[in-house]
Structure formats: C-alpha cells, structure tokens
Symmetry: C2
Subunit: 451 residues, 2 copies
Amino acid sequence: MPERTPSPPAPVPDPPPSVPVTLSATLAADEALARRRRAGERVLSMASGEIGLPVLPALRDRLAAAADENAYGSVAGSTALRTAAAGYWQRRGLGIDPGLVVAGPGSKSLLFALLLAIGGDVVVPVPSWVSYAAQARLAGARAVPVPILPGQGGVPDPDRLREAVADARAAGQHPRAVVVTVPDNPTGTVASAATVRRLAEAARELDLVVVSDEIYGDLVYDTSAPAVSPARYAPERTVVTTGLTKNLALGGWRTGVARLPDSERGRALHTRLVAVASQIWSSPPAPVQTAAAYAFGEPPEVVERVAASLRLHGTVVRAVAARFTAVGAELAPTAATCYLYPDFEPLRERLAAAHGVHDGDGLAGLFSERYGVGVLPASAFGEPGRPLRIRAATSHFYGDTAEQRTAALEAARAADPLALPWIRGSVDRIGEVLADLAGAPAPAPTPSPHA
Amino acid sequence: MPERTPSPPAPVPDPPPSVPVTLSATLAADEALARRRRAGERVLSMASGEIGLPVLPALRDRLAAAADENAYGSVAGSTALRTAAAGYWQRRGLGIDPGLVVAGPGSKSLLFALLLAIGGDVVVPVPSWVSYAAQARLAGARAVPVPILPGQGGVPDPDRLREAVADARAAGQHPRAVVVTVPDNPTGTVASAATVRRLAEAARELDLVVVSDEIYGDLVYDTSAPAVSPARYAPERTVVTTGLTKNLALGGWRTGVARLPDSERGRALHTRLVAVASQIWSSPPAPVQTAAAYAFGEPPEVVERVAASLRLHGTVVRAVAARFTAVGAELAPTAATCYLYPDFEPLRERLAAAHGVHDGDGLAGLFSERYGVGVLPASAFGEPGRPLRIRAATSHFYGDTAEQRTAALEAARAADPLALPWIRGSVDRIGEVLADLAGAPAPAPTPSPHA
Ligand SMILES: Cc1ncc(COP(=O)(O)O)c(C=O)c1O
Ligand SMILES: Cc1ncc(COP(=O)(O)O)c(C=O)c1O
C-alpha cells in the first residue's frame, strides 16, 4: 500500500456556516460571452458596463515611465495621487485635505473596506449595483434593501429609508451606513438634488454614514440633470468614492479613491479604513498610482478625452434607448452612464405567450439564448418579485479593436458615431432583436450618411 | 440660523461591535521611519521586509509595453499569467492545471480572500506574520494560535496542533484551515521536510485546509535547508500562495498567485475564491499581469537576478546575525529570507538594569528611540508573555538610490557586497548599537578591502 494514501477525513463537528458568495454577475456574464464569441458565435455584449475605449496615450506614457516604481509606498496611496484626487474634488466644489483621501486598487476594494471599517449593517437602494449586497454578506453584514423613487435611481426613498432603518433596529439589526450611487448603475438616471438632500437629512437623523459611489460622476450627458453629491448636504458623514474606470476607461488598471469626511467621525473612519487596507491589499499598484495622479490632475488632453467619451456614450445610449421604447418597453429618461434599465411590463402578455417568459431572469435568458445578446436580469440588482426588467449596457458597442475604438471617439468629436458601420450594426442588431422579441415590424435601419 | 446645521445625531440602539483592526505593524513602522528620515534623523530601517532592490530592466520594459492594457480581463487573471505561474510550480515539482491558479493584487489579498472562501476559524503558528491573525479578525474568524517547534518557524508543532484543534472544537470554534509559512517570516528559518510532513498528516486527520504561504520560496540560501511544500504531502488539501514581492522585489506592483488543490475540495474552493475575488478586487492590474507572466516564465535574466539577490541577502543577513550573536543574543541559524529573530533572554538582567527594558515591546522601543533603529517586537507576531525578542530585517541595507542598489547586486555577483561603504556602514552601525545596548566593547568595524 502506498505510504501516503489519504486516510478518510475525520468527521468535523458542527460545520461552520459558509458565507454565501456568488461571482459578480457582470464579470461572470462578460466571461461567458467572451467564450461564446471565441467559439465563433455572433454575440452582442450588453451585460457588463466595462467601457470599451482605449487608454489615452498621455496616460499610457505616464504608466510606462513609472514602470520602475516598485516600492509599496503609503497604504493610503502616494501624496501625488491623493493631492491630485483632492484637486479633482476641489474643482467639483468638494475641496478636501489630501490627508483624508485614500487610494485603493479599484473603488470596489475601497467600498468593501469601507463596509468593514464602518461595521454594522448597510442600507442599499433597490435596484442597485450587484456588488453592494454581495460585499455586505462577505463583511458579515446584512444589506437592508430600500426602494428608489421612480426615475431617481441610486438613492433610497428617504421616507422609506426611515421606516426600514427603524424596523431593522427594532429587529436587532445595526444599520450604520447607506450606500447611494450618483449617477446610478443600473438605471442610468441621476437622483435630483432635492432627493439627495432629503436622503442626506434622513441619514443625519438616523446617524448613518453615507457612502456615495460617484464612479459615474463624469458621465452625465443630460445637462439638466447634474449629479449632486450628498457630501454637499451631509459633509460630516459622507464618504465619496470614485475612480478612473468609467470616465477614462481604465478598469483594468485597478485604481480608485475615497474621500473621507473632514469631521471627527471622518478622521476616525479614515484610521480604520487605512488599517483595513493595510491588511487586505497593502497599497495600490505603484506605477498605476503615478499615471492616475496625472489623470486626476485633469490636464487638457484628459478633459478633452472625457468630453469626447461623454458625447460618444450619450449618442449611442440614446439611439439604443429609442429602440427599446419603439417596441413598447418603458424607460426612464436616461441621463448618464451607458446603462438602460427598460421595463417590459407592457409586453408581459406577449412575452409569456410567444416566449414563455414571465420575469427578468427569463427575459435575460431569452436575450442570451435566442439572440446572443448578453444583458442582466433585474434580480441581479436585488429587485424582488418578477419584474420584466433587464439592464443593458452600450459600452461595448465602440468596436473590437483599438483602431475602431479610436475611430469611435474621433467620430464623437467631429461627426456622428452612429455613422460608423460597426456601431450602426450593433444598434440595428438590437433593434431587430427587440422587434422580433416584441412581434413588432422590423425597424428601418439607421440611415447611413453615405447611403 | 443656517439651514443646514447638523441636528444632534439620534441615539442609535445597541451599537454593533466593531471589528478590531490595526494598521499592519510592518507598514506602519516603515511609514514612521520614513517620516523621521525626512525630518533629517539618522535612522536605520530594519522594520519591514520590503526588498530594497530595483526592478529588473526586462520586467520594467514588459510593464511599460503593456501600459495599453485596460480591460478587466478574467477575475482569476490572464491565461498567460496563470499558465506561467503553473510552469513556475511545475519546475518545483508541483505541476498544476493553470485553471486552478488564481492571481490577485498581491498574495496578501489572496490570503484574505482564501480565509473568506474557506470559512471558519484558522490555526496560525506562533510566531507568525503580522497579517494572518489580523485578516482572520477582519474575516470574522478566530485565529487559533499554535507554537512552532524550536528553530522551525512557520509551521505549528503538529502535536500541539492536534490538541489545539480538539480544544477549539470542544469549545464550539470551527477551525477549518491552518496557515504555514515556508520559509518563515519572522524567524528566517525553514521547517524541516519531516515537520512539514507531520503537519500535513495532522491537517488531513483534522480535516483542515493547509494554506501554505511560500512567498519566500526562492529566498533560501542555506542549501542544507530546502523548503518543502506541504502540497507534497497533502496535495488534496493544500493551497499554495506566492508572488514576486520577495524574489524580484516587486512589492509595489501588487501581484500574487494562488495554486488550488487538484481535488474535489480544491475545485469547490477555487469557485468560491474566484467569487470572493470578483466582489473585492475584480481582477489584478492588467499591465502588471503581463509583466508578471514574463517573470513567472523564469527566462535566464530573471533566474540570474533572483540568484544574485539571494547571494546578496545571504551575505548581508549572516553578517548582521554575527553582530547579534556577538553580544550574546540567541539566534536560530538563519537559512532563508532577510529576517533575524534574535532572543535577548541572556541579556535580560542587563536590559532591565541599564535600560529599564523587560519585554520585546520595550526592546523595540529602545532600538527606535535611543538608536533610531526600526525593528518589530515579538508581540507583533503574536508571541504571548514577555519574550525579549524582536524581528530585524536587513532588506533595506542595499542602498537608498537605484545606483547603490544596482551596485549591491553587482557586488553580490562578483565580489563582496560588504565591501560597499553604505552596506558596511549599516552593518557596522547595528554592531555599535548592539554593543552599546549590551554594554559590550565596541566591535571592530568590518574590514574594508581597500584599507
Ligand atoms: C456602481 C459601480 N461602482 C463601482 C464600480 C467599480 O469600479 P472599480 O472597482 O473599477 O473602481 C463599478 C464598476 O462597474 C460600478 O458600476
Ligand atoms: C509572510 C508574508 N506573506 C505575504 C506577504 C505579502 O506579500 P504580497 O502581498 O506583496 O504578495 C508578505 C510581505 O511582507 C509576507 O511577509
């Protein structure tokens, strides 16, 4: 008998409860679609909101020049990066001591570390980004769901927040924070200043920390719907997070920043946040920090790139929104981000009869299996019940190669990005899919400027 | 009255318990010393084990060339990186399917995510690296301490492991994993193959996952003490982590890899680990992944660099070890890493009488305040009682500039690194400090080859 045969494992008394944990739905959907595309299928990826645009050359050059940097440096990030991020906020009316800025390997990591540093349970809007509730579970906390007001995604209805927190506290839970997303993923909307203010006031009454995820802050193309930070109304208790993932398409670089409140509570939270960071990730990648510091400084070429991206996103997402409303789906006016969150409730009978689809999961399955279109069901964003909602992202429409993506930005600057055949093709494809799914007549293709 | 005056916070019932969290002792000590140095003080940093050597030019060039990469990519890391890491392990007799490799932004992040993915409590050796117990607390778990065997750091005494796990289970705790460090930080020793094997067998009997932190795997300079992975003896249950932070001095790049067991348990753990990663950090920084893939491929210039670093570490740490033993401190033969873990027990009376020092914390304070030498007390590594032990790292001795550090490597290749004035100066300085502290005659300076 070989010497090292494993003996049968001894029975373990009382297996400890495992934290339920699921793969991020957006990242999972992305990987699944990439596999199908590699297998030769015609697929249209509208699942994740990763921004399919190239690195701005000035930033690429900064990163390349910083490749020699190999020291951990400060846990909270370099002085250069923290100072640049403070300047970024200053220009948006939220000046802050760079000593209260903490950088991390992505704002996702910072959000998780904040939950640990704040402790207790956390209120999340419904619907909201896939990761808040999942992170709360990993942090051993409960996510207390509170619905948004219609058309004002990302911010829990302040009145229902009061009720939910009172109920949770009465039930022995410990809500200590509320997460808001301004502008919002998944709805692509921006809560009004009045709503943000009421939220901030409710948070103060309830003694909650407000964690304001403003990663889409630079992606508002409806100028009548400016994004207002709760840090304006409850500066003593609002933590703001952002990064370069969305405005500059730098998700893969992994860099994010948090702005802690300049108050006693804020300084105490800063100490705990940096301690958590020191035990989970040590410091953000040093070469990336140097390039990120340059980006947060917003020199002209960065400002121009963000503006061109914004025009591109706005043009494409609105064209796609029109395809959804054309077949009867309901859609709050999309004001920001690359997301649409259409409601197919008006098509409920048709979807049941023609496709056997009764809820968002079924609808997402139909999009994927019948049409090769990746979208996410409302359930991924914490929606209860059986809403016929999905989230569709248009940020993968700009092309598959760096050349196409650069051309898309160029077109947004000078001409019409919808004139580019690969963008027009994707927009027309989703139009066809929606028409087929809804039993509507096939829509006319987007007119080509050359036809 | 201004409209927005904060109303007094409403009383919150039953404040939830906050997770105790402290800043990583090594990172904190580094930052404190850097501040004193900037203030013009003469300081000698022996606190953190960050490796003060430059980036290998071939790796710098790879990172620079990858600066265009901005997609998240797979949560577990790119195929290129995972395949290269699998090759690295293959060359060390631990071949693995790249599908069971997970890359993260540093092995620290992977260790934390593993604790969450495994669930339950975790056995840690005493002494052990500062972050294991802190991470366990953040993960809501208990660290079950088990002493090492004398001179065999990083691996809990297998017999005491059995007792401690039985006691913990009897007390309603749920130890599910045991962390080992081979080679070890803080002791600079390497547990014998026999001890590692007994540990692996005990882990199997107790049904524990072994998390083997092998970040110092390439830093063994005593060829009579090879580091043997528990994955050899309990392949079905051992997770191995490593990275490029120590062998190639790339801490600031933030990259690490985990090798999951090729077993049913290993595959289930892989699924959970990737899910946790997707919710905490999304993916490791993309440009760094590309350079890391090249490094794990171990082309000749990488192999040569690691070998030169190893010679440098061995020469310097042994010279410093001789200074400690010269004044009567006890020291297990240092076989690996850049760490010394001297015991000043033989000097207890002298330290009490001359310096009012009675334990490791006092001793570390004396080193720092009286001599400007940063070291860490044994308590930082979980040692109970009042041992007169500190950990001293020699990895900052190679110079303050890229030129000095490159010269240090050059000297290790061709001549004697101790001949370089800045290295000799640091070694002599610690000799003087130790002599003064111990009341011993000042040692003769290291002979200069030119004198
Ligand atoms: C609402 C929201 N917050 C945070 C993030 C995370 O961004 P990162 O970790 O890249 O900064 C995303 C990315 O999709 C997001 O949609
Ligand atoms: C024992 C041990 N494990 C892990 C690490 C973390 O290394 P990294 O997160 O850079 O991979 C260190 C760094 O000091 C260490 O000493």
